[in-house]
């Protein structure tokens, strides 16, 4: 039965807790959810935080890490990656995101995660201890091969960045159902949808009129709704145990979504799309997280009113339009914060995952309070992805995912001195550090 669960629903329990025990002594501790404590100690027992305080009595024989002059933070969490699923972007054989098919809720990112991907070593030594890994193809793209639009891409997973198998790495198997909301305009265009006021003007001289684009868009929204409604009928049929009921893997995978247990991570970039995605969620009675908005506008109030969290994409991004402010993407996080919306950051490209804290810092330079920038890569994502009781802050009984640094982790020059994942100290080496050592000493 358990095996069936794994195969069908990605529903696996977290891997066995490690037996790791350590005392970090005399460091400045930044729990994120409470005020920093200077020159404190953290005791980690069996992979969990047991105690934080000025005077911590360590069990006999416990390994001690001298934290003098260093700081301790919770490990960082990236809410938008395809880590473990994509190794070398240009080589299709190394890429397992972007499956074919329009409605693919049964696909599990988790079971295709390669624990030995070099990307994990690169990011965990930078202090990133957990990530959301997403089954969808490249941002905005249908299937990563110029395929038809994909609506439901499958189940994203929340994983640790260290472990021997994907079962070792998992925090929560399915963390969200990933849905690509229809867009107005070209499918998967890198520039994103055409601004409506421009499309309106383009009229018949443009490639497609606004009316045509809207019609296609509405059809696609209906198609997405239809799928959810079919799943709802399946749910009822299953509950009624009607004669002739046949198990269907797609609809089966939708059940946790319909039950409100699994949120829908829904990619929507513009105010109209966000508004429509919210309407969709209301109608289908599902929980949603908005992924990679580029502009909030009037949707900000709605997101706040309905308490819908947001995952912001790359802060270091170009403005949407030619005449948009140069710092549009830099100031969006501050705007989201001021609107009172809960948010976290994602990098949405594997090679930039290690730069997650620098994206947060840029947001801080452009108006986001610094402590909020830190929360958006620690406690906020933990809470948004349903792991607020396990990850994201330094608190008793939480998983001992932490980094010991020389200073503010959002500053580029800060060095990460130790990383612990579930209490286990990570060797600070990657293929990249090994190549460096090898060639620095080349005669």
């Amino acid at each position: 039965m358990k095996l069936l669960g794994i195969l069908i629903g990605c529903a696996v329990a977290a891997g066995a807790a490690s037996n790791n025990t350590v005392l970090i002594r005399g460091a400045d501790v930044y729990p994120v959810t409470s005020e920093p404590v200077k020159a404190a100690s953290i005791l980690v027992l069996d992979g969990k935080i047991a105690e934080i305080g000025l005077k911590v009595v360590a069990p006999k024989g416990v390994r001690v890490v001298d934290g003098k002059g260093l700081r301790v933070y919770p490990g960082m969490i990236d809410s938008g990656t395809s880590l473990g699923l994509s190794e070398i972007e240009a080589i299709r054989e190394t890429v397992d995101t972007g499956e074919l098919g329009e409605f693919m809720p049964q696909l599990c990112a988790l079971a295709s995660v390669n624990p030995d991907s070099e990307h994990f070593a690169v990011v965990r030594i930078a202090g990133i201890t957990s990530v959301i890994t997403i089954p969808a193809g490249s941002p905005g793209g249908g299937g990563g091969r110029g395929a038809a639009r994909q609506y439901v891409s499958g189940q994203a997973a929340l994983i640790h960045t260290f472990g021997r198998t994907w079962e070792d790495m998992v925090v929560s198997g399915p963390a969200a159902m990933y849905v690509q909301f229809p867009t107005l305009g070209a499918i998967g265009g890198r520039g994103g949808p055409v601004p409506e006021n421009i499309a309106e003007l383009a009229g018949e001289t443009g490639a497609r009129t606004l009316t045509e684009m809207l019609r296609t868009y509405q059809q696609e929204v209906t198609k997405l709704s239809d799928f959810f409604e079919e799943a709802r009928r399946y749910q009822k049929a299953k509950a009624a145990n009607l004669p002739g009921f046949v198990r269907d893997l797609k609809y089966e995978a939708m059940l946790p979504v319909l039950d409100g247990k699994l949120p829908v991570a829904i990619a929507a970039a513009t105010p109209r799309l966000i508004h429509d995605a919210i309407q969709f969620a209301e109608k289908q009675n599902v929980r949603i997280v908005i992924m990679q908005p580029r502009e909030l506008g009037s949707a900000a109030a709605e997101l706040k009113a309905k308490n819908i969290p947001v995952i912001l994409g790359r802060v270091l991004a170009l403005p949407r339009g030619q005449d948009d402010p140069y710092d549009q993407a830099f100031t969006l996080p501050a705007e989201v914060y001021k609107a009172g919306i809960k948010f976290a950051f994602g990098t949405f490209e594997n090679q930039f995952v290690r730069n997650l804290p620098y994206q947060a810092a840029t947001a801080a330079a452009f108006g986001l309070p610094q402590d909020e920038a830190l929360k958006a890569i620690t406690i906020n994502p933990a809470q948004i992805w349903g792991a607020g009781d396990q990850l994201g802050s330094l608190e008793k009984d939480k998983s001992a995912d932490l980094m010991v640094t020389t200073g503010d982790p959002l500053e580029i020059q800060t060095q990460v001195k130790h990383v612990f994942i579930r209490g286990q100290e990570i060797e600070l080496s990657s293929r990249q550090t090994r190549l460096y050592d090898k060639y620095l000493n080349r005669q």
Binding site: T211, A361, A365, T414, Y436
Partner: protein, 447 residues
């Protein structure tokens, strides 16, 4: 004619070359230390740098209290301000095409680069061909025409490209079999890339010999017929004569060495190796050749030849004696090269000045313009960036950017002007809407 142009330029200069003193700043000169003080600007040039400076006549004062001034950032690898595609991919040697002919001074990327502190950029073709087109150095003089953007007197270059990208046209989608729709274009392998470059240089050498022979005859008082001018070979002849720089796109150590040896064989120097992500593996050889290296801070894994890329590349190459710059190759990354430099401090432990040099004086050296730009020194062009905070931090924001002593970017003006611009845009949209013919009869929106 030439003289006339210079006179005309001189007459234009006072129109925008204001005298300015930037006061109370932390000035990171890059070449002459860091000090608290002022920079005096006169006629577009840096007149004086010091704790106290003489105020040039009619100076405007910029109070930069608590702020930082660095030299204008120089991006040694960019594709902005190019009208249309950057690749002439139909031939494997496209040395006859020139970026100079397709400068688009209205590309918004110029303004955005400026807002990120970039004052000068090396504009190159793409990497579809083993020998690409002719490159040009531009100043980000937003608002000026194409001619006004060109960095006067900077030696032009030519793009070479090795590895996966120039191989691509030789390996069209669907393979080389009968079903292909696009014919394969030589070369398809790294071997072929080397051969393509050697064949072209071989032709250029013969071509140069013809012209040398012609010049010798003329010098002897003879009256020979001149050889036929070849627009493809002309820039390659200039390479052989040291009159044009080679900026070579490369990744893997084998192809890097290959190109250095080819250059040796033909008696010229590679000016810069671009990308050069495995440069750290052959740093001694690169240093010995005298080539500069212009690389990314931390990009990797986007293709196979970028899989051995390490963020320590820049620092390691620097430690082995190579002049290293950090470039963007991307209109977004171009906007924060200051923090790309900071990564060379994190990865490899460079000093702040060595790191900052990688986006200022080092690229200036690589482009042969270090006599004019790249550091804050008296006599140099007043190309300066003012940051609100320590510029090697990702908390820093560009406040003002000066080129030739003129303020081309001012964050306060940008932010304060937005409401008016939005209003203007709305007016234009409304006007456009009104001027559109009303749908009538069979015309109009599809229902």
């Amino acid at each position: 004619m030439r003289k006339l142009r210079i006179v005309a330029l001189a007459a234009l200069a006072p129109l925008y070359a204001q005298n300015i003193v930037i006061q109370n700043a932390t000035i990171m000169t890059v070449t002459k230390g860091t000090l608290e003080g002022s920079v005096a600007i006169k006629d577009g040039k840096i007149a004086e740098v010091g704790e106290k400076v003489m105020m040039p006549q009619n100076s405007t004062i910029i109070d930069a209290g608590g702020q930082y001034v660095i030299p204008g950032i120089i991006d040694c690898h960019s594709h902005i301000a190019v009208d249309g595609s950057v690749n002439e991919g139909s031939v494997s040697v496209s040395s006859m095409v020139n970026i100079k002919d397709v400068i688009n001074p209205e590309d918004i990327a110029i303004y955005r680069a400026l807002a990120g502190g970039v004052t000068t950029a090396n504009i190159l073709h793409g990497s579809a061909n083993p020998i690409g087109g002719q490159t040009i150095v531009l100043k980000m003089r937003w608002g000026q025409d194409a001619q006004g953007m060109i960095f006067e007197g900077a030696l032009p270059g030519i793009k070479f490209a090795l590895g996966e990208n120039p191989k691509r046209p030789g390996n069209p989608p669907g393979g080389r079999g009968a079903t292909q729709t696009v014919p394969a274009r030589y070369p398809a392998t790294r071997m072929g890339v080397e051969d393509t470059i050697r064949e072209a240089l071989n032709q250029a050498k013969a071509y140069k010999a013809e012209w040398d022979d012609y010049a010798a005859k003329v010098a002897r008082g003879e009256h020979p017929l001149p050889p036929r001018k070849d627009l493809k070979l002309e820039p390659l002849k200039e390479v052989l004569e040291g009159k044009r720089y080679v900026h070579a796109h490369c990744y893997r150590e084998d192809e890097i060495l290959m190109l250095l040896r080819v250059a040796d064989d033909y008696g010229f120097k590679i000016r810069t190796l671009q990308h050069v992500l495995e440069g750290y593996k052959v740093a001694q050889e690169i240093a010995a050749s005298g080539a500069g290296a212009s690389t990314f801070s931390d990009w990797w894994a986007y293709k196979v030849e970028a899989y051995d890329a390490i963020p320590y590349n820049a620092a390691l190459m620097q430690k082995k004696g190579i002049v290293v710059s950090l470039n963007s190759d991307d209109e977004e990354l171009m906007r924060h090269l200051n923090t790309e430099a900071a990564k060379a401090m994190k990865y490899g432990g460079l000093s702040e000045i060595d790191a900052l040099a990688m986006v200022t004086i080092n690229p200036a050296k690589q482009l042969g313009i270090d006599g004019r730009v790249g550091s804050i020194e008296a006599g140099k062009d007043a190309d300066l960036v003012i940051y609100d905070k320590y510029p090697l931090s990702d908390y820093a924001k560009v406040q003002k950017v000066l080129i030739d002593g003129r303020v081309y970017f001012d964050r306060d003006n940008d932010v304060n002007g937005r409401a008016a611009k939005a209003l203007e845009k709305q007016k234009l949209l409304d006007k456009e809407k009104q001027s559109q013919p009303k749908p009538a009869g069979g015309r109009g929106p599809v229902q």
